[in-house]
């Protein structure tokens, strides 16, 4: 990574009046006075102060700042709950084909049959993975899928003349769940976790009532464990007439092994940017399709991709966008969803097929359990014990509390010291119920050697801290910048370049 004493210039600081990268195509129509077409009163006083730079400087600038980023192609990225698996290069080539990339969203469906067929097939595949019969690809990301799920729940109950006000959420949940509930017009009621890391069934029973609209659950949970009481949870939730919502952030653990639909979930969202290899892009794009049960189907967002005719002969099938859905919750966004993401995810599903997807989950879980065992073997768990002493699924939680007490370094310091060794740290300080938490998700695409090196590296950092905790407390030492003043940034926000 590029690390220099001077501040890295911004593109605006590289700007000099008179330079340019853009040359306009020639004006090939009779020119009319601009004032005639757009009166001065309609026009802005000054042009926007965009940078004035020639192409070489733009390329150098963005290439340079890119080299101040860590990325998945460079090194291990065990960021819990984010499923940082390899992003196949094939997908970028396919997504860039003009028939996909240059297709206008309002093209007549009869002239977008390839796109609609791809979307329809992806719907079928996701429904099969979820064990649910209907899929909408509409939502833009996981949190958007959650919002769709909450609105579907509302529509489902309202259609039955019921008005419920609460949504239950385990205290281990991602922050998006409670935020979504509020945006969806409900109140959050938190459900506790038992000593084994499962939903506290007594607490759930006490809080379930006919005023509860939904339970939102991540399974495996955010502590990396399968809810052993899922069958009882399903009985309790459906017993009070609520829906059961599956947060698909952790679907990578159970593909082809167990299905949310078979567990009794009514609504499932997928994170195509986690489980299905859409590159994260430094914070998007993603896509958050939802799969639902028969009773939720009438309320799905519109339009819905449908196949008409064809029967057993696929060659005669016609694909279309169905707007005629009177009970639909309506749109959550424009057009047909993040199609470019669908292309990549569908390519991934075709590459792996049923056996490959099952293997993904098997190896994801094998890698996580192996890394946990390896960390134990290296003596790391002495200072960073597992929050729950069980076999884990695709990720696991350690607590840095003993490390903080005995070695005088916090989870944050360990994370920052890892940066010096070319490793992206695990998710830290989440889930909230574990003190000094580290959430570690290696994914299936990492080798045993990478996991071994990580375990040895963490052990070495702990040994180093025993000698001199200041090294970790002052880390990182080798990155483009050292620890940054985040409190100052929030106190006196500077959110744009000053001219």
């Amino acid at each position: 990574m590029i690390r220099e004493a001077d501040d890295e210039l911004t593109i605006f600081e590289r700007s000099r009046a008179g330079r340019r990268a853009f040359v306009a195509p020639s004006l090939d129509v009779p020119e009319r006075p601009l004032d005639e077409l757009l009166a001065p009163a309609l026009r802005r006083a000054e042009p926007p102060r965009l940078p004035e730079v020639a192409e070489p400087e733009i390329v150098r600038h963005f290439t340079r700042i890119s080299k101040r980023n860590f990325d998945l192609d460079t090194g291990f990225y065990p960021l819990g709950s984010c499923t940082m698996k390899h992003n196949p290069k094939l997908h970028e080539r396919i997504a860039a084909l003009p028939g996909h990339a240059h297709l206008h969203p309002l093209q007549d469906p009869a002239r977008a049959q390839g796109a609609l067929e791809l979307m329809w097939r992806l719907q079928q595949a996701l429904g099969e993975l979820a064990g649910l019969p209907h899929v909408s690809l509409h939502p833009s990301a996981g949190a958007h899928g959650e919002l769709a799920g909450v609105l579907l729940t509302r529509a489902f109950h309202e259609d039955r003349g019921e008005h419920r006000s609460k949504v239950l959420i385990p205290d281990t949940a991602h922050g998006t769940n409670p935020a979504t509930v509020t945006m969806g017009g409900y109140h959050v009621v938190a459900v506790g976790t038992d000593t084994q890391g499962n939903v506290d069934l007594d607490d759930l029973r006490a809080k379930a009532s006919d005023d509860v609209a939904c339970l939102m659950l991540t399974n495996p949970s955010t502590v990396g464990l399968f809810e052993t009481g899922i069958e009882e949870i399903e009985r309790i939730v459906h017993g009070v007439g609520a829906t059961l919502y599956y947060d698909g952030a952790n679907l990578n653990a159970i593909m082809g092994i167990s299905r949310p639909g078979d567990m009794g979930f009514d609504i499932v969202h997928f994170n195509l940017h986690k489980t299905f290899t859409q590159p994260h892009g430094g914070g998007g794009p993603g896509a958050g399709p939802i799969a639902v049960s028969e009773r939720i189907e009438p309320y799905l967002p519109r339009p819905q991709v449908v196949r008409r005719g064809g029967g057993s002969d696929e060659a005669d099938a016609v694909y279309d966008l169905d707007y005629d859905r009177p009970k639909s919750i309506g749109r959550l966004r424009g057009f047909q969803g993040n199609y470019g993401v669908f292309v990549r995810s569908y390519a991934y599903i075709r590459s792996l097929g049923a056996p490959g997807l099952r293997e993904v989950s098997e190896i994801a879980v094998l890698n996580a359990n192996y890394l946990l065992a390896k960390l134990r073997q290296e003596g790391v768990l002495e200072y960073l014990p597992a929050a729950y002493d069980r076999l884990c699924m695709h990720e696991f939680v350690l607590s840095g509390a003993p490390m903080k007490r005995e070695l005088k370094i916090r989870t944050l310091d360990l994370a920052k010291r890892l940066l010096d060794f070319g490793v992206h740290p695990p998710t830290v300080y989440f889930p909230l119920i574990v003190d000094e938490a580290l959430l570690i998700e290696p994914t299936e695409t990492e080798t045993k050697e990478t996991l071994d090196r990580f375990a040895e590296r963490v052990a070495a950092i702990l040994r180093e801290a025993r000698e001199d905790p200041e090294i970790a407390r002052g880390a990182p030492h080798t990155t483009p910048v050292r620890r940054l003043d985040e409190a100052g940034a929030a106190r006196r926000p500077v959110l744009r370049q000053r001219f």
């Binding site: 306009a24 192409e55 700042i65 958007h144 424009g334 920052k416 940054l484």
Partner: protein, 455 residues
């Protein structure tokens, strides 16, 4: 073994021994037996890379894309030229593959790009505060509506019928959950005709230029909203903002929009990005990620995600939005495009489009029976009324290799023969002349048919 995993039989054996179990199946012991799949998913076997490529190429070949016809489709997404440097830069793995920048010391590239993006977008809208992106256009309108709901707590949105139909529908979807009403302000002569505003209005929402292409009077809208104590929201097409009076200059509180025209491909509607800008007053209610400038321990400038107490991972049910993953890579493409266009280039580009749009408007109106749907000033898009059934005319044009635009009938039943025509720098005079030729032929054929039916 799939091509994306590396665990050999020997690896598996060794790893299982270290864990202390006999088989991979044992690792799934927590899943109740009744919930385990006893057969394989019906997804078929995996395919080779080459087979997958061929299959998805065949699907792509069944779409008629903007390379295959002369397309005047717009209505929210536009077929602009995308400079080569965007692909070469955004496909760099350092931009393509990282997660949201939770560790700023190794994410300065993404964070600095966000800061620069915020600056560029803020310059376009004339409002001082920009976030780092939201999903896309219509959901950005919803996000702005949510800010207004939180800030004002009143029960009604007033939304112009000139706002994109997808934005209006998305707003209605959420307003229902919020127990709020959506009142539609009609269009008169192509422009928003605002009703009287009372103290139950949280926000007034318009679009610039509006869906029918007309340039709206944002100053009047912002003033009326302010008078009623409501928030004014404008959904903007970002390129025309290079010429038009900015939402900031007009006193608008929140300017949002669809970012696709800035360096993003059509991709059949996504992924693109949405932008969100506002005033200092509303800074603590902004949804999503925001990058801010700060210093490191050695005094070097650096960038971090900031004002995070607004966000879901900190505030949970009290967050200003649930958004997490947004559109960082697409926003980066937008920033690179704006850097490529530059301060003077963006004006030259939009002026070129304005001139070609004026030419196209004149050429098409010269066709007998074709009339302007409104006579307001436009930038890059305009609406016509055809003297014949619009779907048939459109079909006839397409047969001759021209997609003449977007029929309005689905979204505007009051304009059953309306056609929305969009221009970009990719549509040359020759393309426009061709459009005029085939549309004229289609109108004449349609008129003959109507005559025959009448006889």
């Amino acid at each position: 073994m799939s091509r994306y995993t590396s665990a050999t039989d020997a690896d598996r054996k060794e790893m299982l021994a270290t864990i202390g179990v006999e088989s991979i199946d044992e690792l799934f012991a927590d899943i109740p037996a009744a919930l385990k799949l006893d057969e394989s998913l019906a997804l078929g076997p995996g395919l080779s890379e080459q087979e997958v490529f061929e299959e998805l190429r065949a699907l792509a070949a069944r779409n008629v894309c903007t390379d295959d016809e002369i397309s005047f489709l717009g209505a929210g997404m536009y077929d602009h030229y995308i400079p080569a440097l965007i692909d070469s830069l955004i496909l760099r793995s350092e931009f393509l593959t990282p997660y949201t920048p939770y560790q700023p010391e190794i994410s300065q590239g993404v964070l600095q790009a966000m800061f620069e993006y915020q600056t560029a977008i803020s310059e376009l809208t004339g409002l001082p505060v920009s976030n780092a992106s939201v999903y896309e256009g219509p959901s950005a309108v919803v996000a702005a509506g949510y800010v207004a709901k939180l800030a004002r707590g009143r029960r009604r949105f007033v939304v112009s019928r000139g706002v994109h139909p997808h934005s209006r529908e998305a707003l209605r979807t959420l307003a229902h959950a919020w127990g709020m009403d959506v009142q539609e302000a009609p269009l008169k002569d192509g422009l928003t005709d605002l009703p009287g505003l009372d103290d139950e209005v949280s926000a007034v929402i318009v679009q610039q230029p509006n869906f029918l292409g007309a340039v709206e009077d944002l100053e009047a809208t912002a003033a009326a909203a302010a008078e009623a104590g409501a928030i004014s929201i404008c959904a903007c097409d970002p390129l025309p903002l290079a010429l038009l009076k900015t939402p900031g200059e007009c006193g608008v509180d929140i300017a949002v929009g669809e970012g696709q025209p800035l360096g993003n491909r059509l991709d059949y509607g996504g992924p693109s990005f949405g932008f969100f800008t506002t005033t200092e007053e509303l800074i603590r209610r902004v949804p999503g990620r925001i990058a801010g400038e700060t210093r490191d321990l050695d005094g070097r400038r650096g960038f971090v995600l900031t004002l995070q107490t607004r966000e879901q991972h900190i505030r949970r049910e009290k967050a200003t939005s649930n958004i997490t993953t947004a559109q960082a890579l697409n926003a980066l493409a937008g920033l690179i495009h704006l850097s490529w266009l530059g301060r003077r280039g963006i004006v030259e580009l939009v002026e070129l489009i304005v001139q070609r749009t004026a030419y196209a408007r004149d050429r098409l109106c010269a066709i007998e029976g074709v009339e302007l749907l409104h006579e307001q000033p436009v930038v890059r898009e305009f609406a016509l009324t055809l003297p014949v059934p619009v779907q048939e005319a459109v079909a006839a044009c397409r047969e001759r290799g021209v997609n003449p635009g977007y029929p309005l009938e689905r979204d505007y039943p009051e304009h059953p023969d309306g056609l929305l025509v969009a221009l970009t720098e990719k549509r040359t005079r020759a393309d426009i002349d061709r459009l005029a030729e085939v549309l004229e032929a289609a109108v004449q054929a349609g008129a003959r048919e109507l005559e025959q039916v009448a006889q």
